[in-house]
């Protein structure tokens, strides 16, 4: 009994290499598409932020952050602000006069600028480089005024610790993980 002779025209070396390369290219393209779609869809980056409706002005943002001064800063919602002459976020509870004297200011670091607009309205601006995130002004503004001052984690300096040291001690449980694509709570209505 004799074996049949192999057919020399069944798969040539050239054809074998061509088919092999085509298969490898398609596998590579499929892997690239799969990996890139997985990265963009499933794994969004998250950062820490303070929910202003839960903040209880406990003072821990100033003392517990790993950064000194804290990455938490007061921000001003101008559309809510009453532009009060007697701003309870700017002045101590019983100021001796409504002027910019240090003894009359509630902010321990003089981080709020009071600017005359027209009688009897004043604009209040936060000087971020001085703000330590103590929330003293936030409490005064929210309790007696419209609550236009509120705290936010500033992401130009926050190092986004995996376990935020302020969140661990936050008395109001106000710290939340939010998408990095939308990292701030913008206050648009009073309180």
């Amino acid at each position: 009994m004799s074996h049949p002779a192999p057919n020399p025209s069944s798969v040539s070396r050239r054809q074998f290499l061509r088919e092999g390369m085509r298969l490898a290219a398609m596998t590579g393209a499929g892997a690239f598409v799969g990996l890139s779609s997985g990265r963009t869809g499933a794994r969004e980056h998250y950062v820490w932020q303070i929910d202003p409706t839960k903040c209880v002005y406990c003072g821990n943002c100033a003392t517990a952050c790993v950064l000194k001064p804290s990455a938490v800063k007061c921000v001003q919602a101008y559309e809510i602000c009453g532009y009060c002459d007697l701003c309870t976020g700017y002045f101590v509870p019983e100021p001796n006069a409504l002027n910019t004297g240090a003894e009359n200011q509630v902010c321990p670091t003089a981080a709020i600028e009071r600017k005359f607009i027209e009688d009897p309205y004043y604009e209040y601006n936060i000087i971020e480089s001085r703000c330590i995130g103590c929330a003293k002004c936030v409490e005064g503004c929210t309790r007696f005024g419209n609550g236009s001052f509120y705290l936010q984690v500033r992401h130009d300096r926050c190092v986004n610790c995996n376990e935020c040291s302020i969140a661990r001690v936050c008395a109001g449980d106000a710290f939340r993980r939010v998408p990095a694509s939308n990292p701030y709570f913008l206050k648009t209505s009073a309180h």
Partner: protein, 343 residues
Amino acid sequence: MNFRRPFNPSRRRFLTETARASLGLALFAGARTARSATAVNPFAYDVRKYETTDPKLIAYRQVTAFKCPLPDARRLCLVGTDRLAVAAGNKVALLDRTSGASSAEIPLNNPVRCVTEGPDGSLYAGLRDHVEVFDAQGKRRATWPGFAGRPWISSLAVNAEFAFIADAGNRVVYRCDLTGKAINHIGNRDRDRGIPGFVLPSPFLEVELHPDGLLRVTNPGRHLIEAYTFEGDRATAWGRPSMGIEGFSGCCNPVALAILPDGRFVTCEKGLPRVKVYSQLGEFESVVAGVESFPENAKVGSGEKPGDGVKASLDAVVDGQGRVFILDTVTGSIRVMVRNQAG
């Protein structure tokens, strides 16, 4: 040579040491928790000394209290001789003045901001931008046209000829006839007439008719009660800012006003929720209810309780016997206060 002896405790000793270590850890954790719970905030906005009232200044006592049966109670007024009307949610609730029992409800299509009774028994309900009029049975008689600009009607006062509508959004009081047609504006800033204008950081503007024939209007941003003629001339004003009991606290108070039968004033404040009596000349006289009387209201905004600080206000009305009815908008409760005999 010195070899250390291997640690080979007995079972009893092992258990004893483990229990001791666990106890120590538990005590440490407990102490730490207690310390954090009682930790004093070095950055607190400290107004504690203004939250207690000198008992010698309190001239009223509470005789009864009841809760408004509807949520979101905002303002109240007297109706007839024995009832109260409360603007709450999208309704006006009519309550018995002594028991608080609900006798009727008038539904409206939008939130009711304020309510008052006219001399003929009609009820005037202020919505954000217009006024609706109901007869004594609660049947709608008229819907007045809305106001232009950014209206936020916060108070009403009606006599036999005119309706006075306080619009906090436009910072003005309108004098209207009883069909709702505006006759003139009161309180607009006018330097030539010596009218400084209303300053209203939050939407509280109250108007009342005084027995002396003038209007009294609150100007919270200036911490003033101002008197105006019906034509809009500013006759007088009194008030000063102070966290102390004799003044009006915070950025913008008083938020509500009532007038005693003899013409003296009852004022309500937010932030430091308190109700006080002033003479006709604006001199502080006594306290109806201090901050201690409104613990839930005081917590809103103070950080102890999250909530809407703008909603955390008080309103008051006074009946012919001098009884003061105080509405706490946080709890929805209505307190009935009478003057102490000795006070």
